[in-house]
Point group: C2
Chain length 506, copies 2
């Protein structure tokens, strides 16, 4: 415990950020690696975050008229090939089903048997299979728009994986819409991006930049990919949700046509948009500290843990009665449309108990001992503050104020993350400074690069790849609210439009 | 429309029940076949039923301490082989992933590439892969019980498929629990079966018999399989949820061991239990009539559709205002923990509009024309009654009574289904009568067999298979509340315990 009294997670963020991430996820009991290559097991504490994210997003989607549906897990190879860029983009990372049963071989061991006529791809995304349904559902402009979403698992084979951030199988939602006009489809693309930004900022307390991907970073087959980008504590960027305007590309590939009001035959305009369990990785890296993860109250798996302190057996009845009574009262309260979730932890395991909840990132820890009960008070630790920073509060005051305290914590986490991003985002217009900014050894923390650089770019693939090659730095996005004046490309010096966001990225 | 004025679905149930099922599902717009062999597309109207079922079950699970988690889609072949009966039971219907990318072959077409060292099975159920996690999570009796559930897709390759009832991919939940004692595991098996029975009877209005499967019908690897069985309108049985006591079989296969309070090393006791989108097929076949499906209000995708009748353009403003005002007021009401869902359908498509909603099974259809508005009344059709049976109700009376009307409909549907089951369930103790009961041509409707026969059975596999061979009749279950006296086996005449339920089954 002496060690833990310094920091609960080894190494610290400053010592080794990638390893800190692995350790902090492990210590939180949110997820673990599975014996299946690249796949993770999402444990209950991690899954409940996903449940909360699903609930918030699902409500926001439905408010805009979106309905949920479900499409097949498998995509026939021939469907997948319909859009040339699309198949090119995913061919290298597909799980392929080739057989439909197992049979004992001559050596007595089971072998794949019943070979399929056409291999099936486990969906890495569903544009082509959903497009096939759309082509049947749409015949007239009266059938439009179609607005559907599915909550599903997808598979993109990964060789190097990290829990939540990059796994071969992950959970996500993918929305797919069909429109009669380009304007309406573009508007929908922005509307859904705004929903992702609201989820990120209002619920995950994760400030994001809304932007547009460059051609080289676009979704395979899209005309335009919008994204939200967040800064992690190692100052790298994390793409946290994307919304694609697909033009008529997938409509042509899947023959989604309709008769317009003017009785002409037209290809429809489609969009798709997705957010995944990766958001949980973003949450960890945005708010976690050297003691573990910190859950924003509005999305937390649980809000408060009550820890009765029973030093003498004869105290038990009294302390537990006070604890259960408090729990009951708290559970009747609502916090942002759901009931307060209260844990009671009466395990007799010493200081390890409090540390476990710190590592799990629960917003409030409440200790209840005979002395607190005598004073009708509780001893409260807030996860957004240091682990020693605890305060005695009158019980009824605590009950009355708890939702305000949680709101204040939510606000603090957001502002802290926003300050961090601001502190590590700078405008750079000299190539030399730009290279220094992204070169380890030139910063106070040598292993961490500078952060986000706002610089001009001429728009060429050449300059984009040169910088990627030299520095492993990409254009995170071209911000949508880009108000800056024209300037010289940070790479070649030719004229460029407003500044774009350069950063190392996950 | 003249044809539709008789029945909306062709053929009727009496004419051709299996074909009626296909047509009624299609007409309801709930689901459709996909181009992927054996997989279905669940359309929004169908998926919302699944969302409602998920919500009800999830709440009931959580009340018993179950938490959700998520485990990998893929199961390595070697894991799958750990339990001998288990692999035997599923080997013939597995989707097998053998490659992890696509590569252009010499002929320029894409082919599977990157062969895996070990084939991966797309989960048909997850005992073995979840067992692996459990083996790491459990070391002491203090870690028990573990109570987890996952909402997931599973794949069991089927050659002959029917929407919802039997598809290669389906959606379900699978719960998995680990216990320190046999009694506790057995108790959990029954507890979860009771939850399925509550879902079926209280929400789906589908009366069920709780029972136990015979050895030949058990889940592969289980010690005991409990089930709920419902009677469809063709008098066949539909297994609608199962709960398995797995003994220590899977604990041995996956090495789930713990140190007991007495410091001995023990294998744990496990259970698993699941219900799937098959329930939607059951719903259709329990309540549907020759005009389409009928949705029980407590689980309905939507509760009421308002259909403004606008004969003259100048009426529009007035009729729509009345309609929207009514919708607003209804949407503020709650019905069994969720808000009333109200559709407004102002399409100008004549009688097809009302028929569409009848076929979709929405509980209440409300017509609103200028005359109704003048009387401050609405014209209401209930889906549990004939399509001509409509009544004018004072608007405010309708608003005040709507939840009572829905409850009454829910009750009517349940009672109707229960009466149907009772009418077609008989005790039979003569072999000749038994064979007649299940032989087409001896009933008033020659194409439909008799129903459920309650008869004695000696307990032997031989008699069970003889009857299956002769009549395609199986033992649906041995009812849990079996109070009948001993009697003679319907097949061999030897002594048997209480009666069991014989029926043709889906």
């Amino acid at each position: 415990m002496t060690k833990q009294a310094k920091t609960a997670i080894t190494p610290t963020r400053a010592e080794d950020y990638p390893e800190w991430y692995q350790q902090v996820v492990k210590a939180s009991d949110m997820a673990e690696r599975s014996p299946v290559r690249g796949c993770m097991v999402i444990k209950p504490w991690g899954y409940s975050l996903w449940e909360n994210i699903m609930r918030v997003l699902d409500d926001m989607f439905k408010e805009t008229g979106v309905k949920n549906a479900y499409f097949p897990l498998f995509i026939p190879l021939s469907f997948f090939e319909k859009e040339a860029e699309h198949v090119e983009g995913f061919a290298k990372e597909c799980a392929v089903v080739t057989h439909h049963r197992l049979e004992k071989g001559l050596d007595g061991s089971l072998k794949p048997a019943g070979m399929l006529n056409e291999p099936l791809i486990v969906r890495p995304t569903s544009e082509t299979i959903i497009g096939d349904s759309f082509s049947k559902w749409v015949s007239s402009y009266r059938d439009l728009p179609i607005l559907v979403n599915q909550w599903a698992n997808v598979v993109r084979w990964e060789m190097r994986t990290r829990l939540f951030l990059r796994t071969s199988e992950f959970l996500w939602q993918e929305g797919h819409t069909v429109h009669a006009s380009e304007e309406e489809a573009v508007e929908r693309t922005h509307m859904m991006l705004d929903i992702y930004a609201r989820l990120a900022e209002e619920y995950l307390a994760m400030p994001v930049i809304k932007g547009r991907k460059t051609a080289s970073e676009r979704f395979p087959g899209a005309v335009d990919t919008l994204c939200i980008e967040a800064m992690m504590q190692d100052r790298k960027g994390l793409q946290s949700g994307t919304s694609h305007f697909l033009g008529q590309n997938f409509a042509r590939a899947s023959e989604i046509r309709f008769q317009s009001a003017e009785e002409t035959e037209e290809y429809a305009w489609t969009t798709s948009w997705g957010a995944s369990t990766r958001l949980i990785g973003g949450l960890v890296m945005t708010h976690g500290d050297d003691d573990g993860i910190i859950l924003p109250p509005k999305i937390a798996s649980s809000h408060v843990v009550l820890m009765p302190i029973i030093r003498k057996p004869q105290d038990r009845t009294n302390v537990m009665a006070f604890t259960e009574n408090l729990a009951k009262e708290l559970r009747e309260k609502f916090y942002h449309h759901r009931r307060l979730e209260v844990e009671i932890d009466d395990r007799d395991i010493g200081g390890a108990r409090g540390w476990e909840w710190i590592k799990k990132g629960i917003p409030l820890r409440v200790e209840i001992g005979p002395r607190d009960i005598a004073n009708n008070s509780v001893y409260v630790g807030r996860r957004d503050r240091g682990h020693r920073d605890k305060a005695s509060l009158a019980r009824d005051h605590f009950v009355g104020e708890i939702t305000n305290i949680l709101d204040e914590m939510q606000q603090t986490l957001f502002e802290r993350a926003l300050s961090f991003r601001k502190a590590h985002t700078i405008s750079i217009d000299k190539k030399k400074s730009f290279y220094e900014f992204f070169t380890p050894g030139n910063q106070e923390k040598p292993e961490i690069h500078g952060g986000f650089a706002l610089s001009h770019w001429c728009g060429s693939d050449r300059c984009e790849s040169k910088i990627k090659e030299d520095l492993s730095v990409t254009i995170l996005c071209i911000p949508l609210n880009n108000q800056t004046e024209k300037g010289e490309c940070i790479c070649c010096g030719k004229p460029g439009d407003g500044q774009v966001v350069f950063a190392k990225a996950y």
